[in-house]
Symmetry: C2
Subunit: 284 residues, 2 copies
């Protein structure tokens, strides 16, 4: 049984064909252009395969309220051609098979839970620290969703005492994303994080913000594992700093087990998005 | 069909008999003494009724991990006679019927969801602001639980610029409970909150901390309604202040609807605990 999995990002869209065990049989990356042009390329890729179902992990914001008239549509996005585009509907109309959609970060979390570093736990939180910050929770096999999908990247955290940066979130100024995203690092220091080397102060401040957020997430969601992905986490020195600060802040108040297993890097690399999209179609 | 519901608090235990519609037919309050003595009184109250099931909302911490050897036991508590007491096991052995247990705040949340101010929504968060601060989430009829029950009262929040209070949480000093619980208010001002009248600064600072926490809870859990209960919330001026600050902090980033419906007082008063305990036994 073949299943399609699409990772729809702002700059590229990865189309894949795989199966329920997480095996990927074919994959192609196409640039994200205008919707109609892009959809034609997606259809073209899949024309060689007979799919049973299709899953999509998409950039957002997307409407994920199944009772809404705009379910599965891209909402407000700076990519104007995609604004209000009915991504789910277009795919359903063309393929005439079950199509499932969720946010890129929720799908990444599901991929790691099913096939990656979360495969041995019953709940995991996936946090992506890149241009922006987002997070998703999978618990007992299901993606957590309330009235809408979580917007965890925007939690408020206490300012670091050595940091006078005002924050760049257009909505909240100094929320987590406004203080600790890749864009915030670049704005604060005038260059990208990967060009800042091992400057202790930079990563000490970054770890302070991430640790405060992880402590909140842990107290509120009680996940068994916290996976930190995204470009900013390529800075290896961050992991030990974040673990140490989370331990200090939590002060043994809740059980987190071995910290190097509790807070960890993802495992699936390039195939995380498409594997998660395929996983969306199974047992949801 | 008769169902028993027990609200087990640190100073009193309320035993009730009711049914699945939320109707309470009999109720008795007994003081919380040593476990054996208290259990004898509980058994005595229920000896007149033939129960189908029994639910308990208990003070904590309790072990709620069903795979644990100590499931249903009271864990560390300052009430030394109850430390490591097997509350669930004792009740199961005596009554020989299905017995369900959860934390007092989770049970309060379930009561409001089923029979109170949350009856028209699909998810609600209940926050109790009393001597301590705790919170529980019910979503689609089920109490949310991760690896363990949430400990949301201990999230970190940014310090109010006019507040130099260091906080009283023995684990985290200036977490939400350390800054905004009834005990924190009493320590900061030298008298209990209900004796502080309408002093604008007092409630402005209190609302600052509660609003920051509610914003985090909302971004992470996306509940449809937030119910604020507990002794501190008897101060009527707090509700409008908290609503205003949550609106300001969120800055239209996520949809919360009418703020007076989004953040609201509980409805069930004295019978919240026993109604929630009875609700625990139904459809869980």
């Amino acid at each position: 049984m073949l299943i399609g999995g699409i990772e729809a990002g702002g700059t590229k869209i990865v189309c894949a064909v795989g199966n329920s065990t997480g095996e990927i049989k074919a994959k192609q990356s196409i640039p994200t252009r205008e919707p109609d042009e892009t959809l034609a390329e997606i259809k073209n890729f899949y024309s060689d395969y007979e799919l049973e179902a299709l899953g999509v992990g998409s950039f957002g914001p997307i409407d994920l309220d199944k009772n809404s008239d705009t379910y599965g549509m891209i909402l407000n996005t700076p990519k104007t051609a995609w604004k209000h585009y009915d991504l789910l509907g277009s795919l359903q109309r063309h393929f005439q098979i079950p199509v499932y959609i969720d946010t890129d970060v929720n799908v990444a979390c599901l991929a790691e839970y099913r096939h990656g570093v979360g495969r041995d736990v019953s709940s995991c939180l996936y946090i992506t620290v890149g241009t922006g910050i987002g997070a998703g929770l999978v618990q007992d096999g299901r993606i957590f969703q309330g009235r809408s999908h979580p917007e965890m990247g925007h939690v408020r955290i206490p300012q670091h005492s050595d940091d006078s940066f005002a924050g760049i979130c257009p909505y909240h100024r100094n929320c987590l994303e406004g203080m600790a995203s890749g864009s915030a690092i670049e704005k604060r220091y005038g260059k990208k994080g990967n060009l800042l080397g091992n400057d202790v102060n930079v990563w000490e401040i970054e770890a302070h913000y991430l640790a405060h957020a992880i402590v909140s997430y842990t107290l509120i969601l009680s996940p068994e594992r916290v996976i930190l992905g995204g470009g900013v986490m390529k800075q290896d020195s961050l992991f030990p700093l974040v673990r140490q600060k989370v331990s200090e802040l939590m002060n043994d108040y809740v059980y987190m087990g071995d910290m190097s297993e509790f807070i960890t890097a993802p495992e699936l690399d390039d195939e995380q998005g498409v594997k998660g999209a395929i996983a969306l179609t199974i047992g949801m």
